[in-house]
């Protein structure tokens, strides 16, 4: 299954390299949304520092929703999803490979630009480090839960809207613990509790979401 997973990742990364618009859109969206806030709220260091972590986390969740509907849709349309399901390897491997590729293409660039965006909100270095770490734990959650949502809504009309309604509530715990960790550092109460809960939430989504996605893929294509 490991080799299968790797070939899914390699394939999706090659496709992403040929179709840069897709993931650059999500990245630009993230950068733009989080830059609009300092511009519209005004240059008050205290206020910016207070809203910064929350704004960056909300922008990350929305950016992930932008890229998710196409996770399985393109492969479904040209028939290659069907062919992948007919592979001898388990469908869960396919889902995990797709999630990993999605995170590499969508989550990783987000992590890289976050320190710069954190500076806009007057966040101290320590808070930025915690923010990046919380996103490191949190963006895989977005990809995992999003994959389950994308598989459930595959082939439905208006799937893009439906996936938002379905997945956004599930994102809430990640959002609370992620932004809370940075808030904890800023207020001096520490970030460990929030980060541990975020890690636990990651483990839960990692063990549950791929199976849900695999089962719904089989149903959607059955």
């Amino acid at each position: 299954m490991g080799r299968f997973l790797l070939s899914v990742v390699r394939r999706d990364l090659t496709l992403a390299a040929r179709r840069r618009g897709d993931w650059l859109t999500a990245l630009f969206f993230f950068v733009l949304v989080s830059s609009l806030f300092p511009l519209s709220v005004g240059p008050e260091p205290q206020l910016l520092q207070r809203i910064g972590p929350g704004v960056l986390w909300v922008a990350a969740t929305l950016a992930s929703l932008l890229s998710l509907p196409r996770l399985f849709e393109d492969d479904h349309r040209d028939g290659s999803l069907e062919q992948m399901l007919l592979s001898p390897s388990p469908v869960v491997g396919l889902v995990l490979g797709k999630v990993l590729a999605h995170w590499l293409v969508f989550g990783l660039p987000l992590l890289l630009v976050t320190p710069l965006l954190g500076l806009q909100f007057n966040l101290p270095a320590e808070a930025i480090a915690v923010l990046v770490f919380s996103l490191l734990l949190g963006t895989p959650i977005l990809s995992l839960l999003g994959a389950a949502g994308a598989a459930l809504t595959l082939g439905l009309r208006g799937g893009g809207v439906l996936i938002t309604l379905l997945v956004l509530p599930l994102y809430v715990p990640a959002l609370i613990f992620g932004a809370g960790a940075v808030g904890g550092i800023l207020s001096g109460t520490g970030a460990e509790a929030h980060l541990s809960l975020l890690g636990a939430f990651f483990l839960v989504s990692f063990t549950v979401a791929p199976w849900i996605a695999a089962a719904s893929l089989k149903v959607s294509l059955g």
Binding site: R3, F4, S7, V8, R10, R11, T14, L15, R18, R19, R77, D78, G79, S80, E82, Q83, M84, L85, L86, S87, P88, S89, L221, G222
Partner: protein
């Protein structure tokens, strides 16, 4: 029964519904090495649904499909290793070149990839002039040829082909007929639907008519 004529692919009392409509029920079939099953019927009579059931995409509403005597749901990985399915959609990516498409579809099926053989196969299918183009730039028929190349490279015992001749010109149709004959002579099995005439002179062909009022049946040995 000797091993040559024992059926590898069999189905019993197969039924399929789409929505509220019954497409077929009580359908039986048995296919031995070297044999062809041609599924016929008008549009919307359930040809593609039957092929998908046989390929293991989706479950029948009744009955079961067996490969080497075992239900395919229970031997999924062996079955998928020995079966290749060519659907309406070609399953190739527009962004990739033909050879890249073959490489990835190979990797996903866990088979070692031989680039020389892939190139030879693409040339044999008349694609030598478009090897360095992304599939987006290919015509409909050329993309179908890429999908056929993937089918050939799969080295599968059983081919399930849904309208394999769609979009192909006369040369390609003759080529496909030749490929099918080779496949059958090597002991392969074929299940296909087609609205075009498929010249398989000399092959052991069963016909299965879908969409009749009475339950459609195909007994082994009806030619």
């Amino acid at each position: 029964m000797d091993s040559r004529t024992a059926p590898l692919l069999a189905a019993d009392e197969l039924a399929c519904e789409r929505g509220e409509r019954l497409l077929f029920r009580g359908l039986r079939l048995a296919l031995a090495p070297g044999q062809v099953l041609l599924v016929q019927g008008g549009n919307g009579q359930g040809k593609t649904s039957l092929l998908r059931l046989l390929a293991g995409l989706g479950r029948p509403d009744a009955g079961e499909v067996r490969w080497r005597g075992q239900p395919i749901a229970r031997c999924r990985d062996t079955y998928h290793r020995e079966m290749a399915y060519l659907a309406h959609a070609n399953g190739i990516k527009d962004e990739l070149e033909p050879a890249e498409n073959l490489r990835f579809s190979h990797g996903l099926h866990g088979r070692p990839f031989d680039p020389d053989r892939a190139l030879q196969t693409l040339r044999r299918l008349g694609l030598s002039r478009c090897l360095d183009l992304p599939c987006r730039a290919l015509s409909f028929g050329q993309r179908r040829r890429v999908a056929l190349a993937a089918l050939l490279l799969a080295d599968a015992r059983l081919w399930i082909l849904d309208e394999p001749l769609t979009g192909l010109d006369v040369h390609a149709v003759a080529l496909v007929e030749g490929l099918i004959r080779e496949h059958l002579q090597a002991g392969g099995l074929l299940v296909a639907t087609t609205h075009q005439a498929l010249d398989l002179a000399g092959a052991d062909v069963q016909q299965l008519q879908l969409g009749l009022a009475a339950p459609a049946r195909a007994a082994a040995g009806v030619h």
